[in-house]
Amino acid sequence: MRSSSCLSTCSTHLAGIKVKWNYVPDSWHPCVVSAGDINAVARAAARGDAQAFEAVCRALQDDVWRYCYALVGDRELAFEAAQETFLRAVTAIRRYRGEAPVRVYLLVLARRSVAEVLRRERRHRDARAYDTEPDRTVASSSGAVEIAQLVNDLPSDLRQAFALTQLVGLSYEQAAQVAGCRVGTIRSRVFRSRERLVAGLSEQEEGIHDGSS
């Protein structure tokens, strides 16, 4: 998607890896080629390389955003949580030694940021006695909006497992590392999420058919 909107490209070497940078209207974005490479770039960031840190952030920004958004269901709060994730990474990346993929490492930070943002939001809400309605208008097509609503309605543990595996694209093992549970639990939660989504979508379709007949 990015490459289609590219105006120009250039290449640099980070940690011995050739990284292509695309210039999209506002700034340069790295297109790191594989998951293994991004981990090596992250190790360079851990040694204090600012360009490597930028490459890691730009490469994983979408994943962190999707995860935060799926968990909080509100653009403003998701922005806050995702931004806080990267700010935590400024110091946390120095402890990264490559034991786990950097994507998992950042998503663990994202999980903590989401918890912190939700805790703060609950405190503010209690103080204001004001209940914010989650943002339901996620996507442009109506089918995607229905799915977005159904995903938002999932209990938080199921939503987390579903988001990590289906929206971010982690394996069950990596998702278990991020969520801090067992692989079998992720498998079961993804299945239960799907059961609910299939049931919800079927109900919606039946409703449409009943209405039109």
Binding site: V138, S188, V190
Partner: protein, 200 residues
């Protein structure tokens, strides 16, 4: 509610679609022969397609961190040496002060010299109070720990002396500006912290 075989087959399908399960001929055969499960599988495909189509464009959430990383310098050897020097200076100063206070033999020279130094430090802190009164946000915060420590080390022994003859409390009253200055700093800095919290 789906029967046990239906549930097992659907759970297998869910993991299989994510390439997290090996082929299972029993589950596959069930899915092909059970009408409810076939329908379930086709709705599952719809869900998967819709989720993948879901467009949630990411806003720029990383720039603030990238900027912070560039300005945050990793600990350098020079910085570490400077910290070591500061720590040594602090510990040595405290040790000399403790020796003079204890009045051990041979420390009378140090104690006499300290008397002059303390007057100088008293004047320096008073000058700091004036600077903080002039520009609170710039000078107040840095002065606070110094003033608090000065109050602690000067006024605590003074409180013991204050119970002595009438002349002693009057002499100790000379330290009161330190206490007044510290209270002033605390009153001054509270609204500054509140403003910072509000704008954060």
């Amino acid at each position: 509610m789906a029967a046990r075989e239906c549930r097992d087959a659907r759970e297998w399908l869910s993991a299989y679609r994510d390439t997290e399960a090996l082929d299972d001929p029993v589950a596959r055969a069930h899915l092909e022969s059970c009408g409810a499960c076939t329908t379930w599988a086709s709705v599952l495909d719809q869900v998967t397609r819709a989720v993948r189509l879901r467009s949630t464009g990411s806003p720029d959430v990383a720039s603030a961190a990238i900027e912070a990383f560039q300005t945050k310098r990793p600990p350098t050897a020079a910085r570490e040496t400077a910290r070591l020097l500061l720590g040594t200076a602090g510990l040595a100063g405290l040790a000399l002060f403790a020796l003079a206070l204890a009045g051990l033999p041979g420390t009378a020279v140090i104690a006499g010299h300290f008397g002059q130094d303390l007057s100088g430090l008293h004047a320096a802190i008073s000058l700091g109070f004036l600077l903080a009164a002039w520009q609170p946000a710039r000078y107040g915060r840095g002065l606070l720990p110094v003033a608090a420590m000065a109050v602690l080390v000067v006024l605590l022994p003074s409180a013991a002396h204050a119970t002595g003859p009438v002349a002693a409390p009057l002499a100790e009253a000379a330290h009161l500006p330190l206490l007044v200055g510290l209270v002033g700093l605390l009153l001054l800095l509270d609204p500054i912290s509140q403003r910072k919290r509000a704008t954060a």
